[in-house]
């Protein structure tokens, strides 16, 4: 029933579709990504997204310097310009013939000298050579092909895409091939690869976190609601205590308590646990309210009258009836976990280098220069936005679908 009503909600279905795509991408992340998660490359620092274009180079001047024997040498000053939809992914080969196979140009290094004797390295495309993108390529080192958001990895050596570098002239040391669909970061790592691996963390943090916090919330809320009285009173005061503490600061404090010797994955699990421990309070309170009203219902009273133990009544009769609300709230709360992880990593308390997560990737953008000159580094923010929005659409849809009044055609308007 719920499903049929949900399917009629177009926004919710769009949200679900986006989430399906995002989760598929991150599950197959290792396979889809052309590189491994931390493959630095000193020659391809901060290169723009090849999907959107490429850099071209212009010589703008020359400077005269002296070598160690006081002979004059002439050095060049270059200027680099971004060209939209030119010099990026294209469909012709080195001989300029059209093919269906996408190609990219290799990057060529230019050392540009200024009049103060300082130089910088500029990477721009070499238009004379086109390297074909190949599919299902084997690479030497093995990596995970598939994993459930970082867990239960299946290892393999195949990548979905890769660059065929055989056509690269072997005598050209200044050419550096690379397939950087969304550009590279400051260490020359492929951003698309980092986003895929980062998604494994950022997208699973919500699911695992909500599972932990809902479990705690169900247990505490169920007990408080069912027993009432003193139990209810003290558990609800505990909940209020947790709600009154500013969440981010509690998280920061708890983060200090994590021992330092843990592996990155264990640290990650601890972060999820911290988020969940802080986050269960409101869910618990809501479930308690539900249970409080349900325990007076006929079937609950009947179960009690027939001699069912408290645990049995709570687990078999009361909690299953809260399921629809729990699913809805769970969906609506996932974005908070995603954003919580983003905030923690951005502040340096969450996932740290060399691991990847969307929040950590976004950390590179806290310098104004990046926003001006390397705007593609904000792409992870777009993915965060997409995931959060999709979860909200889906949650809203689920809430409408689970609302009996909407189902019966009784809106609030009609009621009043």
């Amino acid at each position: 029933m719920l499903w049929h009503r949900l399917r009629k909600n177009r926004l919710a279905m769009i949200g679900a579709a986006i989430l399906l795509v995002l989760y598929t991408l991150s599950c197959f992340g290792g396979f889809i990504a052309p590189y491994s998660s931390n493959e630095t490359n000193k020659y391809t620092v901060k290169y723009g997204p090849m999907l959107l274009g490429g850099y071209s180079i212009d010589k703008v001047g020359e400077v005269i310097d002296e070598d160690e024997n006081y002979n004059e040498i002439i050095l060049s000053t270059y200027e680099r310009n971004w060209n939209w939809f030119e010099g990026g992914v294209h469909f012709h080969n080195s001989a300029n013939e059209f093919t269906f196979r996408p190609h990219v140009h290799p990057l060529r290094e230019y050392q540009s000298w200024d009049e103060y004797g300082e130089s910088e390295y500029l990477m721009a495309v070499d238009r004379t050579i086109s390297l074909p993108i190949q599919f299902f390529v084997e690479r030497e080192e093995s990596h995970e092909l598939f994993s459930l958001c970082g867990f239960f990895p299946i290892q393999g050596k195949t990548h979905l895409m890769g660059l065929d570098t055989e056509q690269l002239p072997s005598d050209r040391a200044d050419l550096h091939p690379g397939l950087f669909l969304l550009g590279t970061d400051i260490l020359g790592r492929d951003l698309w690869t980092r986003i895929l691996y980062g998604g494994q963390v950022s997208l699973s943090v919500g699911l695992i976190g909500i599972m932990i916090s809902i479990s705690i919330g169900l247990v505490i809320g169920g007990i408080a609601g069912y027993f009432g009285g003193q139990v209810d009173f003290w558990l609800m005061r505990l909940v209020e205590l947790l709600l009154a503490i500013p969440g981010l600061y509690l998280i920061l404090t708890l983060r200090y308590a994590i021992p330092d010797k843990l592996s990155p994955r264990q640290t990650y699990m601890m972060i999820v646990a911290i988020l969940a421990i802080v986050g269960w309070a409101s869910t618990g309170r809501m479930i308690r309210g539900m249970v409080l009203s349900l325990r007076e219902s006929e079937y609950a009273l009947a179960a009690k009258a027939l001699g069912g133990s408290s645990a049995r009544v709570i687990l078999r009769h009361l909690l299953p009836n809260t399921a629809s609300i729990v699913i809805v709230t769970a969906t609506l709360y996932v974005p908070y976990y995603i954003l919580g992880e983003v905030a923690l990593s951005f502040l340096g308390f969450g996932i740290t280098e060399p691991d990847s997560s969307w929040g950590l990737l976004l950390k590179d953008c806290n310098v104004s220069e990046v926003l001006k000159y390397n705007p593609w580094l904000i792409t992870p923010g777009f993915f965060i936005f997409l995931a959060v929005l999709a979860y909200n659409f889906l949650g809203d849809g689920l809430r409408d679908a689970a609302d009996p009044r909407a189902y019966l055609g009784l809106s609030k308007k009609a009621e009043s």
């Binding site: 795509v21 991408l25 931390n38 630095t40 000193k42 020659y43 620092v45 999907l51 180079i57 010589k59 703008v60 001047g61 020359e62 400077v63 005269i64 310097d65 002439i74 050095l75 060049s76 939809f85 030119e86 990026g88 992914v89 294209h90 469909f91 012709h92 300029n96 059209f98 269906f100 196979r101 996408p102 000298w113 009049e115 103060y116 004797g117 300082e118 130089s119 910088e120 390295y121 070499d126 238009r127 004379t128 190949q134 599919f135 400051i186 260490l187 020359g188 330092d260 592996s263 340096g348 740290t352 280098e353 060399p354 950390k363 806290n366 310098v367 104004s368 220069e369 001006k372 000159y373």
Partner: protein, 674 residues
């Protein structure tokens, strides 16, 4: 048709579609394998056609153009050619008598003393100078300045007997007009200038000087300034006495100290008439005075400025000291600037944005990730960029070679196998060869840095030594060293095992707050992976890092940096070089030098202390650097280039220096162009 059969037929359709796709995929290998990228393919092909159109006509010509980039042909319009100007030494500003004098506000009180220092500058009075510093003021008390911020601020309000000139790297007279040194270099007599007044109008006398030294030398006041005066073995301090007839202060030393003038410059002279009751024999309360809580008018000094207002976490405002005693070449009294505002901004990015918005007049220590914005401002004519060359600050990695045990748990500080690896010289050589400094330079520093092999960077023109052993990047050499040690990858997992079969795996720490270090650390761990060493790179919170460095000694490999002291003399780094030093990172606070070469370094440093001739001292320190280079206890990596930016044409008499504070060390003679 029943619902079930409908379902099966739909499945059949799906199957058909799947096979169809599969066949097509085999036919046009690739294109449909894209699947999820199909959407973009459409417009990519659109753009590709436009590219093709553009290229089809003149593909040959574009190839030629590419070639032309390298060999410039005669037909093209002439390319402007400039000669490289390298700033080896920044020139001292010269006076210009045509500059208007202007009127100071607040005005000066009284007359400058006859004994005043005459600074060879000219300038116009007036204006308000705004800049920002990182962090917060802990105290205004000059007896115990905490941190670099407090020291910079101290120099505005207080003066010393001598002053270090950052511009020409030389100590010059300040409150003392001259000094005499006895034959045995143990008695120093400093003659005080006559007629100098404190900012409240009281005369500054030799008693004030004596009082200030008594405060610093007091047993119960722990200050880092006093440590410099201590005899390294006996801990004796110099004797201070006063000669009222000659208006002189006399210091009697227990040994020859080449750095005596430097230590002297660190002692600010404080007014006795205000603080004499707070220097008790027992439990002196002078450190509780002149803190950031006390009212500004209590901060009486003899420096160019006086404190006007302090708002915690927001700003410090200084105004001209109306009784300051220096004059310029036209006989006008200094300082030129009416008011100085120091904003306390905690975040470097925010500080930069304030500079870009024109709220700040200068921005010192420009980080690499703002360089492009700074050059853009330079080109747009809104800011001047000062290129100071290679900075004196170093970045290094170091292995924990502490052989000790934790007294509480009786566990060794460093695991036995790690200690065994780290003590192998060939292992450290291999690591040094395996680190690609060029890679670090290109990524983290965006090309604006220089590889270094010793604690002295090429920027330090007095102490840089070319003879230090270098370990150029070479994976092959690194692998050869490790192979010769017998540490090979026996089980094929890409990680080498040592001669006892233990995989070479350890942790690299750095502080998580520093983005630059995180990037360097990441590059290093990648480099070491290439030679079969598994490094677990873990950035840590700075406080945790300091705890493990100082107390628990529970770390394997660490990435940190040294900032440079002023003056840039290696004697300032004794904490690092001496085996008993607290910052002797690889094995701190040794009771007795653990190795022969460390003993030799201790000996050389002691010889340096007692030698007065700088060229001989340089010879000693060259040997120290060579010993450090041969034994590589610390792997020095890279030094960034140093830049400062100034609002276009804003300041006159600027004399930028590599030494901190690069632009504001001579604030008394800077003037504001309106």
């Amino acid at each position: 048709m029943s619902p079930i059969s409908c379902h099966t037929s739909r499945m059949l359709q799906w199957n058909l579609q799947a096979t169809f796709i599969w066949r097509r995929r085999t036919r046009f290998s690739g294109l449909l394998g894209f699947g999820w990228l199909l959407g973009f393919c459409v417009w990519a092909s659109l753009s590709a056609t436009s590219e093709l159109n553009a290229q089809s006509g003149d593909s040959l010509q574009s190839a030629q153009n590419n070639a032309n980039l390298d060999s410039h042909s005669d037909d093209d319009p002439p390319i402007r050619r400039k000669r490289i100007r390298r700033n080896t030494k920044l020139p001292e500003p010269t006076p210009d008598p045509s500059i208007p004098i202007g009127t100071p506000s607040p005005a000066f009180l009284g007359e400058a003393p006859d004994d005043a220092i005459v600074v060879n500058r000219t300038g116009t009075y007036g204006g308000r100078f705004v800049y920002a510093i990182l962090g917060e003021v802990e105290t205004f008390n000059p007896v115990e300045p905490k941190g670099a911020t407090d020291q910079e601020i101290r120099a505005l309000v207080f003066s010393s007997l001598v002053q270090y000139n950052n511009g020409d790297w030389h100590t010059s007279p300040d409150l003392a007009k001259s000094w005499e040194v006895s034959e045995d270099h143990l008695t120093w007599t400093f003659f005080l200038r006559e007629g100098i007044l404190w900012s409240d109008g009281t005369p500054l006398t030799v008693d004030d000087v004596e009082f200030s030294f008594h405060a610093v030398f007091h047993d119960q006041i722990a200050t880092s300034i006093r440590d410099g005066f201590k005899h390294p073995q006996t801990g004796d301090l110099p004797q201070v006495s006063v000669d009222n007839d000659r208006n002189a202060v006399i210091f009697t030393l227990s040994r020859i100290d080449s750095q005596f003038l430097t230590h002297l410059g660190a002692v600010s002279i404080i007014p006795k008439h205000l603080w004499k009751d707070h220097l008790q024999e027992q439990d002196p309360t002078i450190l509780q005075q002149m803190t950031s809580n006390s009212p500004p008018e209590m901060l009486v000094g003899s420096g160019p400025f006086v404190l006007k207002e302090y708002i915690p976490a927001e700003k410090i405002v200084y105004q001209r000291n109306p009784r300051y005693w220096k004059k310029d070449s036209r006989g006008q009294r200094l300082p030129y600037i009416d008011e100085i505002v120091i904003l306390l901004v905690k975040d470097l990015n925010l500080q930069w944005q304030k500079f870009e918005a024109g709220e700040l007049d200068i921005f010192m220590d420009l980080p690499a990730d703002h360089f492009r914005e700074a050059t853009a401002m330079e080109k747009a004519g809104t800011a001047d960029l000062v290129r100071l060359g290679v900075s004196l600050n170093t970045n290094w990695v170091c292995f924990n070679m502490h052989p000790g045990k934790n007294p509480e748990t009786d566990e060794p500080f460093v695991d036995e196998e790690k200690s065994y690896w780290f003590h192998q010289l060939d292992f450290r050589k291999a690591i040094n060869h395996a680190i690609d400094r060029d890679g670090i330079k290109r990524t983290a520093f965006q090309g604006r840095a220089t590889a270094i092999w010793s604690s002295v960077t090429p920027g330090n023109r007095s102490w840089f030594h070319r003879g230090v052993t270098t370990y150029p990047y070479s994976v092959e050499t690194a692998q050869r060293y490790l192979d010769e040690l017998g540490w090979k990858d026996t089980d094929g997992d890409g990680v080498r095992e040592d001669d006892q079969g233990r995989p070479i795996r350890f942790t690299l720490n750095t502080n998580v707050e520093n983005n630059l270090r995180q990037q360097i650390g990441n590059m290093i761990s990648q480099d070491l992976k290439k030679v079969g060493i598994d490094v677990n790179f873990k950035p840590q919170i700075f406080n945790d890092l300091v705890t493990s460095l100082r107390d628990s000694h529970k770390w394997d490999m660490i990435l940190l940096g040294w900032g440079s002291g002023v003056p840039p003399d290696p004697a300032n780094g004794k904490n690092i070089t001496l085996s008993s030093g607290r910052l002797h990172a690889w094995h701190p606070q040794q009771a007795k030098p653990a190795t022969k070469w460390e003993a030799r370094i201790d000996q050389l440093m002691a010889m340096m202390d007692e030698e007065l001739d700088d060229s001989v001292r340089k010879g000693y320190f060259d040997e120290v650097q060579e010993l450090m280079g041969q034994n590589i206890p610390m792997l020095y990596l890279i030094a960034a280039n140093s830049y400062c930016t100034i609002k276009k044409g804003r300041l006159g008499n600027l004399w930028p220096s590599l030494l901190r504070p690069q632009l504001t060390w001579n604030l008394e003679s800077l003037w504001i162009r309106q």
